[in-house]
């Protein structure tokens, strides 16, 4: 018992967030990931202001041009400027990914925290629902729903959020279970504190790091899922598009050597997804929490 404080020598106490920042910046991959995400956000949301293109009307005089001239990355089969389209599609991919990731995390947090804190039969029932959900592949549900409804951007966000909250709910439940038996929560309860107070003041603030890490991974997953669905033609419909949709549209062209229709959106998906995963890893180091397995 006395050894709890014994074997870990500590130097000067350092403010917690600065230590976290230092741990994060030590993970070079995470810093690179952060840079990639910031660059892509600028590219998609600020880029169109500097490099203005028409992404709604087709221009059949300008189809299938190679990179160079006034079209830096060439044009596609209906005359859209490819670089502009990469920005335009990226807007949808990033927006849907971020929003769906956040939505999944919010639902998962509420579900997991309720189950973990309530405990007993409610916990058992809620977590069996999660188990059942995990047993069905998210992609399958997503495809069925998309096939029935052909969703718009908002619809896609909601559907993605609804199929991917299961993993964060498990993480948050586990965190809540340990937090609710901490001595400070017991002390609060034993001296007449309400459940609401325990949750608001102690359990949620202390699970923030777990939740943020989970959210980061969820965003990466969501971006990938959007790409899947759109690739199969079940995502946002033309003339709107996203990176997955661009891949799908460019696939036929790839055999005729028009690589500029495939490589840029493919690279963009890979880079952004890897970047979000790297950030998640870095945050996990920084906060010293257990992430997903």
């Amino acid at each position: 018992m006395t050894a709890v404080l014994q074997t870990t020598p500590t130097a000067e106490p350092v403010a917690n967030y600065r230590l976290s920042l230092r741990r994060f910046t030590r993970n070079k991959l995470a810093v690179a990931g952060l840079a990639v995400v910031v660059l892509f956000l600028l590219f998609c949301f600020v880029g169109p202001l500097l490099y203005s293109t028409d992404q709604t009307h087709t221009d059949l005089t300008q189809v299938n041009l190679g990179p160079g001239g006034s079209h830096w990355l060439g044009t596609d089969a209906v005359g859209h400027d490819e670089l502009g389209r990469l920005m335009y599609g990226g807007k949808v991919s990033m927006l849907v990914g971020l929003a769906a990731g956040v939505l999944a995390t919010v639902i998962g947090t509420l579900w997991g925290a309720t189950a973990g804190y309530a405990g007993g039969w409610l916990d058992a029932v809620m977590m069996r629902i999660v188990d059942a959900g995990i047993a069905i592949p998210a992609l399958f549900i997503l495809l069925v729903v998309s096939a029935i409804t052909t969703p718009d951007t908002l619809g896609l966000i909601i559907v993605l959020g609804l199929v991917s909250w299961l993993v964060p709910s498990r993480l948050v439940r586990a965190e809540t279970l340990t937090l609710k038996s901490r001595d400070y929560v017991l002390t609060l309860r034993a001296t007449g504190g309400t459940h609401g107070r325990a949750i608001r003041r102690h359990i949620l603030p202390n699970s923030v790091s777990t939740i943020v890490v989970a959210a980061t991974f969820q965003v990466a997953d969501a971006i990938l899922l959007v790409a899947y669905v759109s690739y199969l033609g079940l995502g946002v419909q033309p003339p709107k598009t996203d990176w997955g949709g661009m891949l799908s549209a460019g696939l036929t062209a790839a055999y005729s050597g028009r690589w500029w229709l495939i490589v840029p959106p493919g690279l963009a998906i890979i880079l952004v997804v890897c970047a979000f995963n790297a950030i998640g890893d870095g945050l996990r180091d920084a906060f010293d929490v257990r992430g997903r397995g």
Partner: protein, 570 residues
């Protein structure tokens, strides 16, 4: 050193000018500086000190087991082999053969998925080329030597099928499997109950005496030192400040720190003080009663009547409490003692309303807790202060000290303005002898003792009528424990709250409580005024419990040990 003329036998362990520095996130931390010591075959050197004194680091350095962020300098030789800077292959030959180690926690020292016999046999076969069958036979023999009953059968047991004490015996069997010349025991009994501790110490003592093994015993417990060691080295801030024979250091300490340390150790009075020189037959007779404070009158602050608690359901259910009745009256301190698993913490949690009893009733300040709900229940509980064991988990690291202490005010004194709250927090912080400036700091910046005093401040900020303290000092060093206990006692005098004090440490309870309740296996074994119950216990169990506590006086401890062995319990 003074003992140079005794240096005829080659030392089994020799440490010279050992220095160890840890590289951490926040810079280098020197842990050990210029430590020199030695252990001769057959003798036990106790390395004592408080948390962070570097005693465990010295032990790890002697085995070449320092973590990768540590840098060692100086010379450590085990049976003539230099350990600092030695290669892994050389160290592997040394460990388990020439020197072996017993760690604090027997639960994690064994592989949970391997039968204990196989684990011992593995150690044998690591160092000697004997057949599988021969190693298995040796394992059984070793289990017999460390006092495990039915060793043939127990060899095929998994660690979880053994008790904590038996597991530690298995760990010791592994340590002595290759008859090492040096045994390093790092807090070998700290995780065990006192009665088990006494058995393990007896075992280690016998093994060392039989085989001439040198023992380096790392401990913070002066009683264990008195019971076991031949020589003592006292460490403070990474340096050895005093060393000498156990009698010399424990009875006539020279260094100021050693004196302070020994003074802070709570001593269990095991014999009525006036009869020190009186023969044993007379000591058994009723002695003049120490002036007991009159039993406080008035309505019970908290009362448990026939409380039973079960954890779990069906055949796996555990009966944690059975028909437990106890009462705490206004202003008095009741000590709740017992070994681990006796249900003392559960009883405290029932009193706090954290655990709902399956049978029996709990009344708090005259109201039945089980029948009070909502606002009324919260109001009732606002009269209770709580201090729990773990100084780290007791405070939310995301809140400042001030916010932690102010939390009960926010819950129960909603009318207070922020300025009034701040003033009240500052006042109560000073009451527990902490500077009021601490309110702005984070709990991470505080030491264990300071954290426990912050917990105490939080418990007392509403001026409760009852303080429930569950092992409030057992994670602290003795000198820190002393301050915390003094603060509690002083404030109790001023504020007059009653106190339910849960502890496994009989000496602390003896100093602190007017009445004591001894628990065993979920039941109350006996209860009564502290001095009566702890000096002249009625039950055999309490008698054994008291006899097993080692006192930090080597002469008296030797006498008690012999008395215990011959069956005459003190």
């Amino acid at each position: 050193m003074k003992e140079t003329e005794e240096l005829k036998v080659a030392n089994i362990l020799e440490v010279e000018d050992l220095g160890v520095t840890f590289g951490t996130d926040t810079g280098d931390v020197p842990a050990v500086r210029e430590v020199s010591l030695h252990v001769r075959p057959g003798e036990t050197l106790a390395l004592v000190g408080e948390s962070g004194s570097g005693k465990s680091t010295v032990a790890l350095a002697a085995m070449g087991l320092l973590p990768s962020n540590a840098r060692a300098s100086g010379r450590v030789s085990v049976d003539g082999t230099q350990v600092v800077g030695a290669g892994e292959a050389e160290l592997a030959r040394l460990r388990g053969r020439t020197a072996s180690m017993v760690f604090q926690e027997p639960a994690t020292a064994l592989d949970p998925l391997t039968r204990v016999g196989a684990q011992i046999a593995e150690v044998v076969r690591n160092h000697r080329s004997v057949s599988r069958a021969e190693a298995a036979r040796e394992a059984v023999e070793l289990l017999r030597r460390v006092g495990i009953p039915e060793p043939e059968r127990r060899a095929s047991a998994f660690p979880f099928q053994l008790s904590g004490g038996q597991r530690q015996r298995v760990v010791i069997a592994m340590a002595i499997a290759n008859s090492p010349g040096l045994l390093i025991a790092d807090e070998p009994t700290t995780a065990l109950d006192v009665t088990v501790q006494a058995e393990i110490l007896d075992l280690l003592r016998a093994l060392a005496a039989d085989s001439g093994t040198g023992v380096l015993l790392v401990t913070h417990n002066m009683g264990v030192v008195a019971d076991f060691a031949d020589r003592v080295a006292v460490m403070l801030n990474g340096e050895v400040v005093e060393s000498g024979s156990v009698e010399q250091v424990l009875l006539h300490p020279e260094h100021e720190y050693t004196q302070r340390l020994l003074e802070a150790v709570p001593r269990l009075e095991v014999e009525a003080p006036v009869v020190e020189s009186v023969p044993r037959e007379v000591a058994g007779e009723p002695v003049v009663e120490k002036a007991e404070p009159a039993t406080p009158e008035g309505e019970a602050v908290v009362e448990l009547r026939g409380v039973s608690v079960r954890f779990g359901r069906g055949p796996g259910a555990v009966q944690a409490l059975q028909e437990v009745s106890l009462t705490v009256r206004p202003g008095e301190t009741v000590g709740l003692v017992g070994e681990s698993g006796s249900g003392k913490s559960t009883a405290a949690r029932v009193a706090l309303g954290l655990v709902a009893p399956a049978g029996g009733t709990v009344s708090l300040f005259g109201r039945e807790l089980g029948r009070t709900r909502g606002r009324a229940r919260r109001a009732l509980l606002s009269g209770v202060g709580v201090v729990l064991q773990d100084p780290v988990a007791s405070l939310d690291a995301r809140m400042s000290v001030g916010e932690c202490v102010a939390e009960p005010l926010r819950m129960h004194r909603r009318g207070l303005s922020a300025a009034e709250r701040r003033a009240r927090v500052a006042e109560v912080l000073e009451r527990v002898r902490l500077p009021r400036e601490l309110a702005g700091r984070g709990p991470r910046e505080l030491s264990g003792g300071q954290r426990q005093r912050v917990s105490l401040a939080r418990a007392l900020v509403l001026e409760p009528r009852l303080l429930v303290a569950d092992e409030p000092t057992s994670a602290l060093d003795v000198s820190v424990q002393r301050t915390v206990l003094e603060v509690i006692a002083e404030l109790q005098g001023e504020l007059g709250f009653a106190c339910l004090f849960v502890s496994h440490d009989l000496a602390v309870v003896q100093q602190f409580a007017q009445r004591v309740v001894v628990m065993r296996a979920g039941q109350v074994e006996e209860q009564g005024p502290t001095m009566t119950t702890l000096l002249r216990p009625e039950t055999e169990y309490t008698r054994r419990l008291i006899a097993a506590v080692p006192v930090p006086d080597p002469v008296m401890q030797r006498r008690r040990r012999e008395a215990l062995r011959t069956g005459v319990t003190a």
